[in-house]
Each structure stands twice: as C-alpha cells, then as structure tokens.
C-alpha cells in the first residue's frame, strides 16, 4: 500500500523531486519507488524523529542502499530513539552480505561498531565476506580498521597464512601480511627479515609466476639492501634456471642496481643490461620499450669508469654531476 494512501501518514505532505524544466540523467522511478522517497523527503524536511521515520528508512534503503542521506538520517534516528544497536548489527550484517561492494553499508557498520565499542563479531564476519570474494577491498579495509583500532593483531598472521595456502596469488593477503608484521614485530630484526625472505622464496618455488610474492620480497628488502642480503642473489640466480619469470628477472635488475649504487663495477652493469635485454626481447615483451628505457637509464647512470678516464674526465666529478650533487 502506498504511503500516500495510509491514514497514519496523512499529516505529512509528500515532497517530490524537482529537477526543473530540463532534467539531466533522469531516472525513471516506478510509482512505488517515488512514493517511498517522496515521504522520505518529507520526513527529512521536518527532521522528524519517530519510529515511523525509522521504519521508512529501511524501505528506502532496500530500494537504494547507496543513498548516503538515508543512512545518515537512519543514524540520527538510531541515536535519537535509542534504538537497539545489537539489532542494528544484525540488520547491517544482512545488508552487507547482499551488497558487499557498497561504501555506505561498510561505513554504517563501522559507526555502529564504534558506538557499541564492540568489535567481537568483526573478524568472523569479515572472514565470511572474504570467503565469498577474497579480494573485496571494502572488507580488507574494514578488517584493517578493526584490527588497528581494537588491537586485534594476535591471530591475524595465522589468518593470512591460511588464506595464502588457499590462494598464494591473492595480492590482498600479501598486503595484509605486510600490514600485520610491520605493525607487530617489524622487519628490523635479521631473524624476522630472513624468515620472511625464505617464506617468499618457498612460495615462489611452488608458484613461480606470482607477482605478489616478488613484490613482497622486493618491498621488504628495497630499503634494507637488496644486494647485501646474505645468499639471496645466489638463490635467485639458481631459481632463474628452473623457476624463471619476468618478476624474477626484474628483481635481478633491481638487485644489480642496488649493488651498483654501492659499488659501481663494469661486470655488474653488464649483467644488469643483459637482463634488461632478455626481458625486452624474450621474457616480458609487452614491456619491451620500458626495459630498453631502463637499460638506457642504467647505462647512463653507471657509465664505466674506464670509459670516463679515456675521455679525460675525472670520474668522480662526472658522477657527482649525474647524481645531482
């Protein structure tokens, strides 16, 4: 039954949408839809705080859960009418299960959790959403918020490992791994760093063509000395024979670049240039122009000392100029 025909609503004058004489991107609503929202607009205008208003917000949400004004008004009513927040948690749980990629529903859940100051259902709820879509960005964002806000770090690494066993290529999980470790033990201890390096290499042995694992490996080492991590370069060169990928080769280039920054050797530069050539011509041809560009950059940055001496230029001065000193 339309709201306009209900006698308990007769005191309210419905408010239609008014787009003027030339509406743009007009949405053709059914009578039912317009009826609900005409009364929603009427309630908003009065800023009515009542149970009938609260009930109507649920109908409005069902028709369009992306209307952030409806959600805001519902939150005003939740507080003004002292509604049962546990019941609201059940409500928002159902809605998120139906529409897990909507911003408003996750924001609403966050507000209710904050009001209740109770995160106890969150990790299990989010795990359930992730079981349906393991890369849902909203779910991971909410998970990070809950963990950080309420200090729920204890079992998260275990959760990460379980998900990586299910899908070692899930980039969101690798990101979560970094999130957990960087906020708990950190990566400064050599024991932890080495554990993580070995973990990566083991995952790479199982699934070589996995950008996420290589990104993680590079990520934890790039500011801690890629080329100076004991035995790493050797392990990677070994893997190159049996578990090659564009990511392995790119990692090698980055190792050589790191080595060159500390000790500019012709041999190292040549190796780096060779790998760039291999990537450009054979192993990552879609990025051919980029690898050739990188090759030119490396050449230009780390031009050989003996070449410079032949040109009668002081190598120190020229490299100072190149490095912007």
């Amino acid at each position: 039954m339309f709201y306009r025909d209900r006698k308990e609503w007769a005191d309210l004058e419905p408010v239609p949408q008014d787009d003027g004489p030339n509406p743009v991107v007009k949405i053709a609503y059914s009578e039912k839809f317009s009826d609900v929202y005409d009364y929603f607009r009427a309630l908003l205008k009065k800023d009515e705080r009542s149970d009938r208003a609260f009930a109507l917000t649920a109908e409005a949400i069902e028709l369009n859960a992306a209307n952030y004004t409806v959600w805001h008004y519902r939150r005003v009513l939740l507080q003004a009418l002292q509604k049962d927040l546990r019941e609201e948690m059940r409500y928002i749980t159902d809605i998120i299960e139906e529409q897990p990629k909507n911003y408003q529903v996750w924001h609403h859940r966050r507000m209710v959790v904050e009001w209740l100051n109770d995160p106890s259902e969150e990790l299990e709820f989010i795990a359930d959403i992730l079981s349906q879509d393991a890369k849902n960005y909203h779910a991971w964002q909410h998970r990070q918020w809950v963990i950080q806000e309420y200090k729920l770090w204890d079992n998260e690494l275990e959760f990460v490992e379980k998900l990586l066993e299910e899908d070692v290529r899930n980039n969101s999980v690798w990101n979560q791994r970094h999130f957990v470790i960087s906020h708990t033990t950190g990566y400064s201890s050599p024991a932890i760093l080495d554990r993580e390096v070995q973990y990566c290499l083991n995952q790479i042995r199982k699934a070589p063509h996995n950008e996420s694992a290589w990104n993680y490996l590079k990520g934890i080492l790039q500011d801690r000395g890629m080329s100076s991590h004991p035995g790493l370069l050797e392990q990677v060169l070994e893997l190159k024979e049996t578990h090659c990928s564009p990511y392995l080769l790119a990692f090698l280039v980055d190792c050589y670049e790191d080595a060159l920054e500390n000790n500019n050797q012709k041999e190292t530069l040549n190796r780096a240039l060779e790998v760039c050539e291999y990537l450009a011509q054979e192993k990552d041809t879609i990025r051919k122009e980029y690898w050739l560009f990188l090759q030119r950059s490396l050449e230009s940055r780390f031009e050989c000392i003996d070449v410079l001496l032949c040109q009668g230029i002081s190598p120190l001065l020229k490299s100072d100029i190149k490095n912007g000193v």
């Binding site: 003027g20 004489p21 743009v24 949405i27 053709a28 609503y29 992306a66 970094h178």
Partner: protein, 363 residues
C-alpha cells in the same frame, strides 16, 4: 578489395564513434529504474557523458545551456545569514527535495549539503559546456571544502560524515586547481596522507596500510601534479619505483592490482598516471587498444569493464580516455591529471587569466 574474412576482422576492431555518441546522449536523457543506485551521483554520470561527448568532439548534439542551468540548480548556496557556509558546494542530484532554483540565497534545510565529488564534477561539467563559472560562489565552495578535511590530511565527502580517503583528496585538488585557490585545503597535510598511502610495493592504496590499486595511485599522482608538488613530495628513486609498479599493470589492457583481471577503466587510471610520470610512451599501445575495443558494445555503444559485459557510463568514458591517451584518431586529447579534454582545459586557463586580470584592476 577486402575478402569477407578481412572485412569481418576490420569490423571487429574498428571504433564505432556514432554508437558512442548515441550512448552518451541516451545517458543524459532517461535511465531505467535499475540505475537507482546512481541517484545521489547523477552529476558524476553527467560528467562522464558530457566529457565523453567532448572527447568525441560531439558536444553539438546536446543543449548546453539547459544542462548548465540544471548544474547550477544543484549548487548549495549560502543562506541569508550565511550559517551554512561549511555545507556549500554542489549536490549530486535533487534527491533531498530542495525546490528547483538556479540562484540564491540558499534554502535552509537540515540535511542539505554539497558532496566533494559532485562539486568537482559540477565544476568540470560547467567548464566543458563552456560556462564561465560566474555563477559559482567560489568562496562558499572553498569554505565547504575546508570543512571536509580531517586531521590526517584526507577528506570526507560530505560534512555530515562519511568514509575518508584519497579519492576525496583528488576531488579537493581538482576543485582548488579549477578555482585557482588553494585556501580550501591544507596541502602539506594532504601530501603527508598521500605519502602515507604508498605501499611496500610502491603503488598507492586508499590509505595507509591498504593494498595498492590503480585508481588510488592515479588519485595520488594526479593530486600531487595538480598541486605542483610531485617532485617535492616524492624522490626520484620513489618515482622510478612507482613507474615500475604502474607499468607492470599492463597485461593486455590494464588491471588495477596484481593478479586481478584487466578492466577497461584502468587503461585510463593507470595510463594517465604513466603519462604524468612520462613513461606511458613505453607501454604497448596495440595490446591496450585491442583490449579496450574488445569491451566495446557494438549494438548500444559504450564500453564495459570486460568483453561481453554490459556497458556503463563510467567505462564508456574511461575507455574513450584510454584510447585518447594512445592517440586514437578523431578523439580529443585529455589532460591526464584533471581528466577533461585539452580544449576544456584551455578554456579554464583563459578564464583563470581573466580572473587574475580582473583581480589586478579591482582596487
């Protein structure tokens, strides 16, 4: 004379300009009820269509003046007593029920306020349609914007409260850039938030700790470019690392995150970022083009995220922009940071020059 097989292949990869023009025309008219979830963002949908027509050099098919009036009816103007300044800006649509009006003073309503993405797309749409922004209350927009920035440097979308993240920093940066006035934001704090959003893998997430993503990386880099602070905020080493993360997103077209499927819109988000970083020239144009065109809807026009999927205004617009970046013939060039055509951008530059000249002559 082409053989039937050659003709068929040619049809498969050709760009159906007229279909796309009609797609955007229909978008601007009436959408069926199943698009209800777009109600509060109708102004962004208008932007996709209007900017899309601009890229196609087909703005002549629409009534620009009528559209300009509709946009101005969405402006949240100050009330007589100016008590709502921190809520000013543009609405996404008429969904709150404010009676149609293109001029002030504003109407006092307990729940009426602007939305940062609507203020951004409202201003860009006005520019694209050739308006001179003279009816925009710039000071009110900037006051509304300022009210949205949080301590950590990020922005909310609306003053009532919403999620806060890097998307709205981008919207804010566009607004300040267009209005040529950065008093609406604390740039230093915004830069700190952006830097804090850089992931261990050198892409940018929606906020600190979050997974790096092509869309958020665009927001980060484009914002810094608009602020004129790219090289101040990021070192050469960091920029090189970001370039690498971005360029690895190409699989055929582009995806938004490692190990995820490609999607037409990332041809713009990642493509434009690469362009801003001067390395788009090193991507594979042919594979990118072939992917985008494989998502073209040959019947109704527009583009979808994937082949054999339904087109929508966002993917239709960004698919075109992706093609424009690779220099597809008969498409206008797009400004990679502001995401409007270079033509519309030049109009903005002329306007800003006029404002500066007028400011000089007023005493």
């Amino acid at each position: 004379m082409l053989s039937p097989l050659q003709l068929e292949e040619f049809e498969q990869i050709d760009f159906l300009r007229d279909r796309h023009v009609r797609f955007f025309q229909r978008t601007l008219q009436v959408l069926p009820e199943r698009y209800a979830s777009l109600e509060t963002t109708r102004l962004t949908v208008m932007f996709f269509a209007v900017s899309g027509l601009d890229v196609l050099d087909a703005l002549d098919v629409i009534d620009r003046n009528n559209m300009i009036e509709w946009i101005y009816s969405l402006q949240v103007l100050p009330t007589e007593d100016q008590s709502n300044l921190s809520r000013c800006g543009f609405r996404g649509s008429s969904h709150i029920g404010i009676p149609y009006s293109v001029k002030g003073p504003g109407v006092l309503h307990p729940y009426d306020s602007g939305h940062v993405a609507m203020t951004y797309t409202g201003l860009t749409s006005l520019l694209i349609l050739g308006d001179d922004l003279s009816r925009v209350n710039k000071q009110a927009c900037l006051a509304g914007l300022k009210a949205l920035q949080l301590e950590d440097g990020s922005f909310c979308a609306v003053p009532e409260g919403s999620e806060n993240d890097i998307r709205f920093i981008y919207c804010a940066a566009c607004i300040c850039y267009m209005l040529d006035d950065w008093s609406g934001m604390d740039i230093q704090k915004a830069i700190e938030y952006i830097r804090g959003s850089m992931s261990y893998d050198n892409g940018f997430g929606q906020g600190a700790g979050l997974e790096s993503h092509g869309g958020w990386t665009f927001c980060a880099i484009a914002s810094l470019c608009l602020m004129g602070r790219l090289e101040e905020a990021l070192s050469q080493r960091e920029l090189d690392r970001i370039r690498r993360w971005c360029i690895m997103r190409q699989q055929s077209g582009f995806h938004g995150r490692p190990n995820k499927p490609v999607d037409t819109c990332y041809s713009f988000w990642v493509g434009a970022t690469l362009e801003l970083l001067d390395v788009f020239q090193y991507t594979n144009y042919e594979k990118n083009r072939n992917y985008i065109l494989s998502t073209q809807d040959r019947l109704v026009g527009g583009f979808a995220k994937w082949p054999d999927s339904h087109p929508d205004p966002l993917h239709a617009y960004l698919g075109l922009c992706g093609l424009s970046l690779i220099g597809e013939p008969n498409l206008r060039k797009v400004h990679p940071a502001l995401n409007i055509t270079q033509r519309a951008f030049q109009h903005l530059q002329q306007l800003q020059q006029t404002w500066r000249d007028n400011a000089g002559t007023c005493t």
